[in-house]
Amino acid sequence: KPKSSEPIRVAAAADLAHAFDELKPAFSAKNRSEVTVTIGSSGLLAKQIDEGAPFDLFLAANTSYVDQVVKAGSCDGATEHTYARGRLVIWVKGADGARLSIGALAEPRFKRVAIANPEHAPYGAAARDALTKAGLWSQVSERIVYGENVQQTLELAKTGNADAAIVGLSLALAQPVGSWALVDEASYAPIDQALAVCTHGGNTAGGRKLAEFLNAPEGRAILRKYGFLLPGEAVAKVP
Amino acid sequence: MTSEAGLSVRVTGQRRTARSHFAFDVALDFAVGLNVLFGPSGSGKTTILSTIAGLLRAESGRITLAGRVLFEHQTHVDLPPDHRRVALVFQSLALFPHLDASQNVEFGVPRSVARAERLERALGWLERMRVGHLARRFPISFSGGEAQRVALARALASEPRALLLDEPFSALDRELAQELSAELIEHIASAPIPVVLVTHDRALAHRLGERVTLLRAGKVERSGSAQELLPEVE
C-alpha cells in the first residue's frame, strides 16, 4: 500500500554515490516525491533486503546480488534488469595517469596497487581479471592491497599509501585530484549492474517510477555523465 | 545454665586458608546483661562473635538466642545474618565510607521505623555516644575514637536481640570508656538483651563483668566472675 508521504528508499552500490547527487534532485523535480539513498556494499545490502530491509529499489553493482534477492522473494523478478555497466580505470594520484596501461603496473615504482576485494566486490573481480589477462597477476599479486569496496580502494591511493588503484570510472570522475586511464574492456567480464524493485519498502510504486526514470533519457544522461555505459549502447567515448 | 532470654552457643568450627588453620570448639552461655569474653590475641574471640552473627558458618552444634534457633547443624538451620538480629561492632569498625555518621547509624535503624523517625533516632544514638557533632561528616575524617563511637551507635540503633562488641572502647580514653559503658548498661536495663564484650582491659572487665569467660586457643579455659578469673589487676 504505497503512501505518497513515504519517501522512496533506495539501496545503492557504492559506485553510484556521486551519480545520485544529481539523480535525486532531477527525479524529485519531476515527481514531487522524496528519495532517500542508502549507499553500501551490494552484498551487505542484499543480505539486509533479504531480512526485510524497507527498500523500494535495489541498485546493485552486479547482477548476482539482485538475482539473490529476487530468488528470496524480497524483490520483484519482473522488474529486474541491467541499468548500467561499470567501467574500470587505473587511477593515480599524480597527473601522469592518462597514458597508463595495465602493463605499466608491473613497473617497480608501483610498490602498492590497491584493488577492491575480488572475492565480493565486482570491480575487484574485474581488476583481477584484467591483471590476469595481461599476464601480470602472479607478478603484481604480491604488491596488491585490498579495499573492501571501490571507495576505500581509492582512498588508499588518494592518501598516497598505494601508488595506484583500480577502481570504477564513476569514482575517478568525481575526484578533484589525480588522473586515470581506462582499462581495456575486453580484458575483464562486463560489470553489468542490475536493479530490481523490492517489496518490503512502503513505496513500491515510487520504486518503479524511479527505475523507469533511470531508463528514461534524463536518467540515462546522468548515468552516462558519471561514467557508466548504458544497456543498448555501444562502447561510447568517455565524457 | 542459660536463661530463657540468653544466648547459647555450642559450636565447633574452623577457619582456614591455604596456609593456616584455626579450630574452635566452645560451649558458651551468655545471659541477659553484660558478659565479658577475655583471652589472648589470636584465641578466637573475633571468630566466635562472627560465628554467632552468622558471618562464619560453624561446622557442628547449635546457637540459640532467646529460645530461637539461629543455627543448628543437625536440622540444617542456618539463619542468614540479617535474620538473626544480632548486632556486631567489628574490631575494624566497618563504617560505611560513603555514608555520613547519621546515615551510617540510620542504616542500622529497623526498616519498620517510620522514615521520618529514623534520622531522629540515629541522631539520638550519636548524641548518646558523644559524637552528635559528627552527624554530617564522613568516616574518613573521624579520629580512631570517634569512629569507634559511631560504630557503637550504629549497632545500638539496630535494636538487636543480642549485641556483640569486639573491643569497642580500645581507642577511647578512660573517661569516655566509662561514660559509654554506663550508657550501655543503662540501655541493657531498658532492653534486656545479652551483650558480649570482648576486651583486653582488665580494669574494664572488673568494672563491667559479673560474668567473664576466658578463651584460649579456641577453647573455653574457665568462666566465672572477674574477681575469680582476673585477680591480678593493678
Binding site: T36, G40, L44, L171 | G54, D82, F96, F107
Partner: protein, 222 residues
C-alpha cells in the same frame, strides 16, 4: 550546512542504550559476584565474546536472529506491531550490545574489590543481601562502574557495524552520526566527514568531562 539530525539521533540512541546496558550490566555483574555461581568465568567471557567478531558480521548474525523471519522478530512484531530491525529499536539494540560487555566487566571488577567486611556489616544490621548490594556494594563500586558506563556510552555513540546491519542506514530513521560520517566518506564528501567527526568527538569529550565532574563532586564531599 551540516545535517545535525544524525548527531541528535546518535545521542538519543546512545543514551537509551547506555541506560539499558547499565542496568543490565550492573545486574549481570552482581550475579557474577554471587558466591555459589557455577561457570562464572565462562558466563563473563561469553558476555565479552561478541567483541571479538567484526561488528558488521556480528550485526549480520543479529539481523538474522532478530529479523522478521526469526522467532524473536515474530514475537516482537506481534507485540508491538512493528519489526525491531531497521528501526530505532534496532539501533538501540546494536548500541546496547556494544556497551554491555564494557559495563559488565568493569562493574564486576569494581564490585569484587569492595571490602567484604562492609557488606558483612550491612547484613548484621539487618540488610538483606539485595539491600547490601544496592546500598553498600554498588555505591562503593561506583568509580569502576562509572568508568564502565562512560566506556559503554562512548562505544554506544560510536557503534557502526552492528547498527549498519541491524538498523540499516536509513536516512532520517536510523542514520546515526557514525553512519552519516561513513556515508560522507563514501560519497567523497571528505570535508563533511571531517567536520562531523570533529563535532562528534568534541561533543563526546564534553559529555564525558561534564559527567566525570558531576559524579566526582558528589564523592569529593566525603
Amino acid at each position: 550546512m551540516i545535517d545535525l539530525e544524525p548527531l541528535a539521533l546518535s545521542f538519543e540512541v546512545a543514551i537509551v542504550a547506555t541506560a539499558i546496558a547499565s542496568a543490565l550490566g550492573v545486574a549481570l555483574a552482581g550475579v557474577l559476584t554471587l558466591p555459589r555461581l557455577i561457570g562464572r568465568e565462562v558466563i563473563d567471557s561469553a558476555i565479552t565474546a561478541p567483541m571479538v567478531l567484526p561488528p558488521t558480521v556480528l550485526g549480520y548474525y543479529l539481523l538474522v536472529a532478530l529479523g522478521r523471519e526469526s522467532a524473536i522478530g515474530h514475537l516482537f512484531e506481534a507485540l508491538f506491531g512493528t519489526p525491531i530491525v531497521f528501526s530505532r529499536g534496532g539501533a538501540v539494540v546494536a548500541a546496547t550490545i556494544g556497551a554491555l560487555p564494557l559495563i559488565t566487566k568493569a562493574s564486576r571488577a569494581a564490585l569484587e574489590s569492595v571490602d567484604a567486611r562492609l557488606v558483612d556489616a550491612a547484613r548484621t544490621l539487618g540488610a538483606s543481601s539485595l539491600r547490601g548490594f544496592l546500598r553498600v556494594s554498588l555505591p562503593l563500586a561506583r568509580r569502576g562502574i562509572f568508568a564502565g558506563v562512560m566506556l559503554g556510552f562512548a562505544r554506544a555513540l560510536g557503534d557502526f557495524g552492528v547498527t549498519l546491519m541491524v538498523a540499516g542506514n536509513i536516512p532520517g530513521r536510523t542514520r546515526t552520526a557514525s553512519l552519516a560520517i561513513y556515508d560522507a566518506v563514501l560519497a567523497g564528501r571528505d570535508a563533511d566527514a571531517t567536520r562531523l567527526s570533529l563535532i562528534m568527538t568534541a561533543l563526546a569529550i564534553a559529555v564525558l568531562v561534564v559527567a566525570a565532574h558531576l559524579t566526582r563532586s558528589r564523592s569529593d564531599d566525603i
